[in-house]
């Protein structure tokens, strides 16, 4: 057959012509807008936003932390000793191996502007820093500023670089005098970024002050017995850092030292970031699952609404492929819109947050990672959406041209091949999301758990459908409920779509609650308000009298405070003797050590205390953690080094650990001899009945005992509370966003149903069913689905939450009662919404609407 121009009209269109037709159709559809896909776009945007934020934050931080190892460590290898510096000959041998920088860090107090505050003091030599750079507030060169000693301007005083918070607390300014120990310094500049801040590895009690190492020594603060950490960093000259580490390791003295490589640097922070990212990643994956479920429901509803239009396209000669392509193009447009909105929003949230966190951690911000993460998230979502689109749109291609002419046409089901490919793509997206997290095994297990839970939901729903189809109800309600539930696929779909939301939200809220509990437990109910450190033995009595004589002060505890490094257990090196990996921190660096003549009051898990007048070879009392680390029993022998001397002592008892009291606790406690006479300082902690009494004591200590540092715990506790509140708020926000995602998904699902149900409701109304009866039917039907989703989804969510809490967050499982109520609330809410919208909303309410619909 030929047309007027002589073309063979029976011949199939060329590819170019097909493309032209497709373009024309897309243009026509575009003119009508993609408003019908607004729920789809919303679901995509929210899933993208949550995933994007987590991926950008978490992975960005992990990458930055792992890339900057040498900078954070301060060298290619670092050794640290406490209390005493390395012997000069050993330091010389070390310096022969590479460029060396020596740094001393201690907690002390500084006086300026009439105020005395606890500070984190750091003395650095001329070689510091070996890697990275120190950034000053003024932008000037660090070394130039620090070496500005002895000129007219500073009247011979050495320079001190202080963190801005120091100025804020004391009211001092640049150029003012600052007193440390017996030495005056001049405040030369403020500190913006310290490259090796993460090497501190502990809680900082006050603002950082950096001075020259020789000036620190001159200030008289480095005395025998002071808790000073001496760090020796080496920079490799031969481009063989591993050889350097081996060479340094060979020099290990008998007294031990803490050797760290860049891989260890910031390790704890990195581990925390990895675990947090994996946890947040699960929130992201849940959002992805909910978002994809919602997007699928929304796309399906959209296709269902378009069946007549599609049939008309087919009627006009469009091939199934053309129909599929047209709808795919529209969905792709909508997907990109959702992705753009989501990624834009996540960048708007993640970048400022990343900036704040990197500033806090003194890590340089690398935005290149962010782009990488955005691309990862976009790719994962594109895969998931491609699967979703295929699942939703396959049926579009199956619509027959006759559907335009027939009423009572049920939407065709998807092509099985398309369905399988779509499901595969969705699973691929979830798997890829899990694999892209820092701890893929953990995330993968959680994702598999989610998939298994979805499988269980589907089976349960199919079981319900089978049960229902066996029944032969005679009444209207029963018949309609049976009819709507007996389609196993349809029932399973709805159960899964609601269940996924319930699983995710329950798990996250349970985890959030446990996390909050754990954080709150970090703060004991009664904490000391003031801790005095660097108290010399001869000052103890005077301070004790001062505190005990003040009715406004109470709860004084005074102990000798030393550090020890554990080297052997029963003659076996500690690394080999360790039986519990999670307790490896007990052999990482130096740990708290004290001596006591009398029982401390701690409960004993085994053994007995030494006699009060015992003065023989030292006996030791390890804490519970040490027992667990080495499977210790009474009679075992521990080798440890204190103040550069090595001791081997018998374990005579094991003390129970009192967690998180803020009281000084000692991993190892020894009998008095020979430590009583060794140079060491004491630590005193106490509480105040009034702030005035505490402030008075701080003033007196400052005046009478210049070497003693008073650490005011009150603002620190407030800081910790602030962090907890922030973490709680953040996790609430996340759970809230999941609820929003779930609600959108549900809305999409309800929308998918409403169109189909409107037709039914219209008929029911015409044959004499009241709105109440129609709503009741929908409510009962949704309640059945909601009950399964709530029961199984809630159970799966709690199992998932338990896994996240114990394996990812490593805190105690502490779900609140709300977690048990939540699935029920969500199930009921979804039922009521579905019932209300599907029943009451489905019958046209406005005057004339019924006639209009019936005439259609």
């Amino acid at each position: 057959m030929r047309d007027r121009d002589g073309r063979d009209t029976a011949a199939p269109l060329s590819r170019a012509d097909q493309f032209r037709v497709l373009r024309a159709l897309v243009r026509a559809e575009w003119a009508a807008g993609i408003f019908g896909l607004r729920l789809f776009i919303g679901c995509v945007a929210i899933a993208t936003f949550m995933m994007g934020t987590v991926w950008m934050l978490g992975d960005g931080l992990s990458t930055m932390l792992s890339r900057g190892g040498t900078t954070f460590l301060g060298g290619d290898v670092s050794v640290t000793t406490t209390n005493v510096p390395l012997p000069a000959d050993l330091a010389d041998r070390l310096s022969a191996l590479g460029a060396m920088s020596e740094v001393a860090e201690l907690r002390s107090s500084a006086q300026a502007g009439g105020e005395r505050v606890a500070v984190e003091l750091k003395g650095v030599d001329g070689a510091y820093p070996l890697y990275g750079g120190v950034t000053l507030g003024s932008g000037r060169d660090f070394r130039t500023v620090l070496n500005r000693t002895g000129n007219v301007e500073t009247e011979g005083r050495p320079a001190a670089i202080v963190e801005p918070t120091f100025l804020a607390r004391t009211g001092a300014g640049i150029g003012d005098v600052l007193r440390l120990g017996g030495q005056d310094f001049v405040i030369a500049d403020t500190l913006s970024q310290e490259p090796d801040r993460l090497s501190v590895g502990r809680f900082m009690v006050g603002p950082r002050i950096i001075v020259r190492l020789d000036a620190l020594r001159a200030a008289g603060l480095i005395q025998r017995g002071s808790i000073v950490e001496f760090r020796y960093r080496l920079r490799d000259r031969a481009d063989a850092p591993d050889d350097l580490v081996d060479a340094v390791r060979d020099l290990r003295p008998e007294a031990g030292w803490e050797l760290e490589t860049p891989a260890d640097a910031g390790d704890r922070v990195l581990r925390t970031v990895d675990r947090t990212t994996t946890f947040l990643g699960m929130v992201g994956i849940t959002a992805l699952a909910i978002g994809i479920a919602g997007a699928w429901a929304a796309a399906k509803a959209w296709v269902r609404r378009r069946i007549r239009t599609i049939a008309l396209y087919r009627l006009s000669g469009a091939t199934p492929g053309m129909v599929l392509a047209l709808h795919a193009v529209i969905v792709v447009f909508a997907s990109f819109l959702g992705l753009a909105v989501g990624l834009g929003a996540s960048a708007a949230v993640a970048l400022p947050l990343l900036d704040v966190i990197t500033t806090r951690l003194h890590v340089p911000l690398a935005t290149g990672n962010v782009v990488e993460q955005m691309a990862t998230v976009a790719l994962i979502l594109v895969a998931g959406l491609a699967g979703t689109g295929l699942l939703a749109m396959s049926s579009a291609a199956e619509v027959s041209p006759g559907a335009a002419m027939r009423s009572g046409e049920a939407p065709p089901s998807a092509n099985p091949l398309h369905a399988a490919a779509g499901a595969g793509l969705v699973l691929f997206a979830l798997g890829a999301a899990a694999l892209s997290l820092p701890i893929p095994v953990l995330a993968g297990l959680m994702t598999l758990g989610l998939a298994a839970a979805i499988g269980v939901l589907a089976l349960a729903a199919a079981g319900l459908a089978k049960c229902v189809s066996r029944r032969r109800p005679r009444g209207f309600l029963g018949t309609v409920i049976r009819q709507s539930l007996e389609n196993a696929g349809h029932t399973a779909t709805r159960t899964i779509a609601i269940g996924v939301g319930i699983i995710g939200i329950t798990a996250i809220v349970a985890a959030q609650n446990s996390l909050q509990q754990a954080l709150t437990q970090e703060l004991p109910e009664r904490v000391p308000d003031l801790v005095l450190i660097d108290v010399q033995p001869d000052q103890v009595a005077a301070l004790r009298d001062r505190v005990e004589g003040d009715p406004g002060l109470e709860g004084l505890q005074a102990d000798p405070f030393m550090r020890m490094t554990l080297t052997q257990v029963n003659g076996v090196p500690v690394e080999d003797a360790l039986v519990r990996e999670d307790k490896s921190w007990v052999i990482e660096g130096d740990r708290s050590f004290s001596w006591a003549a009398e029982p401390t009051g701690a409960a004993l898990l085994a053994g007995d205390w030494w006699d009060v007048d015992y003065d023989g070879q030292p006996l030791v009392s390890p804490e519970e953690d040490l027992m667990e680390a080495f499977d210790l029993t009474v009679g075992d022998r521990l080798t440890y080094s204190v103040l550069g001397r090595t001791f081997t002592s018998e374990v005579v008892n094991i003390r129970k650990e009192y967690h998180r009291t803020f009281r000084p606790e000692y991993l190892l406690l020894a009998s008095p001899q020979p430590f009583r006479d060794a140079p060491h300082t004491w630590i005193m902690s106490l509480q105040g009945k009034t702030d005035a009494a505490l402030d008075g004591l701080i003033r007196d200590v400052s005046a009478a005992h210049g070497n003693v540092t008073a650490i005011d715990i009150r603002p620190l506790v407030a800081q910790v509370r602030g962090v907890i509140d922030g973490a709680t708020l953040a996790s609430f926000l996340m759970a809230g966003l999941l609820v929003v995602a779930g609600a959108m998904s549900l809305a999409a699902l309800v929308a998918a149903d409403v169109d189909a149900r409107r037709q039914e409701a219209l008929v029911f109304s015409v044959v004499g069913a009241s709105r109440r009866e129609i709503a009741l039917v929908r409510l009962a039907e949704a309640a059945a689905v909601g009950a399964i989703a709530a029961a199984l989804g809630g159970l799966a969510g709690m199992v998932g939450g338990y896994f996240v809490v114990t394996e990812a967050l490593r805190v105690d499982w502490a779900p609140s009662a709300f977690v048990f109520v939540l699935p029920v609330v969500l199930g009921v809410a979804s039922s009521v919404v579905a019932g209300a919208v599907g029943g009451l909303g489905a019958v046209p309410g406005g005057r004339g609407q019924l006639v209009r619909h019936l005439a259609a």
Binding site: R406, S407, G408, E409, A410, R474, G475, F476, T479, Q483, S484, N487, A756, Q759, E760, L762, V763, F764, S765, V766, V767, G768, A769, S770, R771, E773, G846, R847, G848, Q849, L850, V851, L854, A855, A856
Partner: protein, 255 residues
């Protein structure tokens, strides 16, 4: 075309009390219906009311078959909606089986439809997910009849669909779907059947078959029927024809 005599011969039903008394099943006096205006933005966009029925006066007697004819948009479907209690009249008086639909609440109107009114539409309006048997049973179920399916099955057999009981609408032809709709409309033995262009979507032969079934059922059950149609020949087979134009009764043909 049936004459009154011919019809009397075919009717096989107990006369209803109303029929005996000759009381009408539906009485409309000055019935009005107006819809909110429709603009581009949908209903109520421009606020201007559209008068669809502008004061209809008519009666449907017991056992009477009345045809309503008129051009598209004249208000025929709206007349069915008002008499069927689907829309509340905005003026005048509409009484169906002594129930004043101008004042009756939704519950009363629903009950009226459930027990006494059957409706057949041009586009069938069957529940796609339900079988023919389930569709036809609906009014009986709603009336609390626990033998709904067996009675509906009889009705489906009556309309010639005993072999299609468990088929869904998508598996039925247009004529078959309309016969299911007719079985559903008559299943609860209503006193009044409203049919809105029941043959509009069917070919002539199928339409004739369907109408034949409907007329037979009306005669058998003694129901009254209001039949909206464009088809003059079909209208001529009814007892009386009212011509509607622009929301008013323009003419009445027949006794």
């Amino acid at each position: 075309m049936f004459s009154k005599t011919e019809r009397a011969d075919t009717v096989d039903r107990p006369p209803s009390p109303d029929a005996e008394k000759g009381a009408p099943v539906a009485v409309l006096s000055g019935a009005r219906l107006s819809y909110p205006g429709i603009g581009d933005g949908g209903p109520e966009a421009n606020g201007a009311e559209v008068d669809v029925l502008r004061g209809i006066d008519m009666e449907i007697g017991a056992g009477e078959i009345v045809a309503a004819t008129g051009p598209s948009g004249s208000g025929k479907s709206s007349l069915i909606a008002v008499i069927g209690g689907l829309e509340r009249p905005t003026g005048g008086e509409v009484k169906v089986l002594d129930i004043d639909l101008t004042t009756a609440g939704e519950a009363a109107r629903t009950d009226l439809r459930r027990r006494n009114i059957g409706i057949v539409f041009q586009s069938f309006h069957l529940v796609p997910a339900m079988s023919a048997l389930q569709n036809a049973s609906l009014p009986l179920m709603l009336a609390g009849n626990f033998e709904a399916e067996s009675e509906a099955a009889k009705m489906l057999a009556r309309v010639g669909l005993s072999h299609r009981l468990n088929h869904r609408p998508s598996a039925l032809s247009g004529g078959e779907q309309q016969r299911v709709a007719i079985a559903r409309a008559f299943a609860a033995e209503p006193r009044l059947v409203l049919a809105d262009e029941p043959t509009g979507n069917l070919d002539q032969a199928t339409g004739d078959e369907v109408v034949g079934v409907m007329f037979d059922l009306v005669r058998e059950t003694g129901a009254s029927m209001l039949l909206v149609t464009h088809d003059e020949s079909l209208a001529a087979r009814c007892d009386r024809t009212i011509a509607i134009d622009n929301g008013k009764v323009r003419d009445t043909v027949g006794s």
